[in-house]
């Protein structure tokens, strides 16, 4: 628990048939930080992400969580250790109500998830806690709404509530503001800030204004390899980053998207 870095990768490599998507990535995510992984399209951000959450198997290298090697563990196993991810497309259970969505997550701690002989009424004791989580992301009015009927931004908020229900130590967010309008983006930024209290967050994000507002540390990837790392100031001043992002050194890295 006391280790300085929650998550660490060593020489992480992923090759797809003669193409190296992730090339010797060493990543260190400090406890309590909001850490961003940025880079131009095709830089391998999502691949790194999928490696970390075991949706892909690394070709070489090591992944450590609290100094423990988790390279060979499965997705569900690392989720139980406290690493919870989000997805690019909002990950909700569409034909369940918002309340039920959160309850599915809470249910894992009950140890009743294989109990097929019990009534689902036994889950009602989780309702208050689920509701409190919905309230924390501003969805209290929609507790009984079937999720398909929620707007995109609200689905993402619901996803976050579900993630928080797992009381994760490390949250991995895959482009949390992708495809959102301004208002939704601001709301999600606030939600992430709130969620980060007492937790560590690693996020892939395109929107640099979001990164500048939220993140303590930024790793820039290009062509599968780490280009540089630092805080927003350092990274945005770095000429190599500007070139990789803008194609030329001339423009300053603006916080726009």
């Amino acid at each position: 628990m006391s280790s300085e870095f929650v998550l660490e990768t060593r020489n992480l490599v992923k090759e797809f048939k003669g193409f190296t998507a992730v090339d010797n990535v060493d990543l260190k995510v400090r406890r309590g930080h909001i850490h961003a992984l940025i880079g131009p399209n095709g830089a391998g951000k999502t691949t790194v992400f999928n490696l970390l959450t075991k949706f892909l198997i690394p070709t070489r290298g090591q992944i450590l969580f609290n100094d423990q090697d988790i390279t060979s563990l499965k997705s569900a196993a690392i989720a139980r250790m406290g690493i919870i991810r989000s997805f690019q497309i909002s990950a909700v259970f569409p034909h369940m109500t918002a309340l039920e969505n959160v309850r599915v997550a809470l249910q894992r701690f009950e140890g009743s998830s294989f109990h097929f002989w019990k009534s689902e009424k036994s889950l009602n004791k989780l309702n208050d806690k689920a509701y409190a989580l919905l309230e924390s992301v501003g969805l209290q009015e929609f507790a009984n709404t079937v999720t398909v009927e929620l707007s995109y931004g609200r689905k993402r908020a619901l996803e976050l509530a579900t993630t928080l229900a797992m009381e994760p130590e490390l949250v991995l967010l895959d482009e949390p503001t992708q495809g959102m309008g301004h208002e939704d983006v601001d709301r999600v930024v606030e939600l992430i800030r709130k969620a980060a209290e007492g937790r560590t967050i690693l996020m892939v994000e395109h929107n640099l204004s979001v990164v500048s507002k939220l993140c303590d540390r930024i790793t820039v990837l290009t062509r599968g390899a780490v280009l540089t790392e630092g805080n927003y100031q350092e990274v945005s001043q770095n000429p190599v980053v500007k070139e990789a992002y803008m194609g030329s050194e001339a423009t300053t890295l603006e916080g726009a998207h």
Binding site: T53, F55, K74, S75, A76, A79, R80, I84, R85, F87, A91, V92, F93, P94, H95, M96, T97, L99, E100, R103, V104, A105, Q107, R108, E110, S112, S113, F114, H115, F116, W117, K118, S119, E120, K121, S122, L123, N124, N127, D128, Y131, A132, E135, Q140, A143, N144, T162, M166
Partner: protein, 331 residues
């Protein structure tokens, strides 16, 4: 809780909604059960028993397709295993207890389900369907070649025996009520599973499997349990069917049967509890009517056309469409 009245109202409303829909369902079940109890005095009991056996088979299949989203194309293997095991036990050992034969047959299908499940569950979609089909074909050829099944002739004259040693099952009415009891048990079990804490996880897996995984659920294990239960219930249906007709035939093991149960389930309404029951009743009745008419040879063609019409126009199936209509107009 210090805060909001709203907290109480939202969760209270949730609990109330669930209760209301449960009550409505139980009213429907009560009416149907009442009809089923008086039906043998109006309709030929053997025909009704056929419907109940297939309905149980379809209900078992729907647990997988409707509530886990797994399309098994090998369920005939479980139906047949239930049937042949029962037939073998009852005709080989004279005086073998009927209820024990049913239990053992169900256990045999459950075990076979475990074997199928372990091999197939890691795959999804069409691959899952194909693996179950391939395994079921192996089982078909096993039954075709094995001496004890009578090959293409099947097993005939299987004694029905007496239930618990004193309820004579030769009496069609007794037999009918026994089959009805078995069906109610199977239906009740599936209903319980669907509306259980475990059922919620199944629903989550069906809705968004990667997300369920990322919440820490080992989805393969959950699917496997459902697969095994479904196989066991299909075996139970096969076993009872064999006792009703005193006959176990290769038809039950044929892939046609796996297809027919898909048809029954889709036609009735996949993912609804009563859908497969209505679907089975519809298909069995239709086959029965056609077999007696001049169109006897056209059964498959007519079923095929009905299937196409169903998929094109009322995709949710009979019960599914009815539910939609009800939701739109009465709530």
């Amino acid at each position: 809780m210090m805060t909001p009245i709203s907290e109480n109202t939202a969760t209270k409303r949730y609990v109330e909604n669930a209760l209301r829909s449960e009550r409505r369902h139980f009213k429907i079940y009560a009416v149907l059960l009442l009809l089923a109890l008086v039906a043998p005095f109006v309709v030929y009991p053997v025909f009704l028993m056929k419907i109940l056996c297939f309905a149980l088979f379809a209900v078992a299949f729907n647990l997988l397709l409707g509530y886990v989203g797994l399309l098994s194309f090998g369920h005939a293997a479980f139906l047949a295993t239930g049937g042949y095991t029962t037939g073998y036990l009852l005709s080989t050992y004279s005086g073998f207890s009927t209820e024990l034969a049913i239990l053992l047959a169900t256990a045999a299908s459950t075990l076979l389900g475990l074997l199928f499940g372990v091999l197939a569950i890691r795959r999804q979609g069409i691959y899952f369907a194909m693996i179950t089909l391939a395994l079921a074909q192996l089982v078909f050829f096993f039954y075709l070649q094995s001496p004890f099944t009578g090959g293409e002739d099947g097993m005939h004259g299987i004694p029905r025996g007496a239930l618990l040693g004193f309820i004579d099952l030769q009496n069609n009415l007794m037999m009918y009520y026994f089959v009805l009891a078995v069906f109610v048990f199977g239906f009740g079990l599936v209903r319980r599973i669907v509306h259980s804490p475990y059922g919620q996880i199944l629903k989550a897996i069906k809705e968004n499997e990667p997300r369920a995984t990322s919440l820490g659920y080992n989805v393969d294990q959950y699917k496997l349990v459902a697969f095994v239960v479904s196989a066991g219930l299909a075996g139970l249906a096969g076993s009872v069917k064999t006792i009703v007709f005193q006959l176990a035939s290769l038809n039950d093991a044929h892939w046609h049967m796996s297809g027919e149960v898909v048809l029954m389930t889709l036609l009735g309404g996949v993912g609804t509890l009563l859908g497969p029951v209505i679907g089975a009743a519809f298909v069995v009745s239709l086959e029965h009517q056609l077999a007696q008419s001049a169109l006897g040879n056209w059964v498959n063609v007519i079923l095929g056309i009905i299937f196409i019409v169903c998929v094109l126009t009322f995709r949710a199936g009979i019960v599914g469409e009815f539910q939609k209509f009800f939701k739109k107009n009465f709530r």
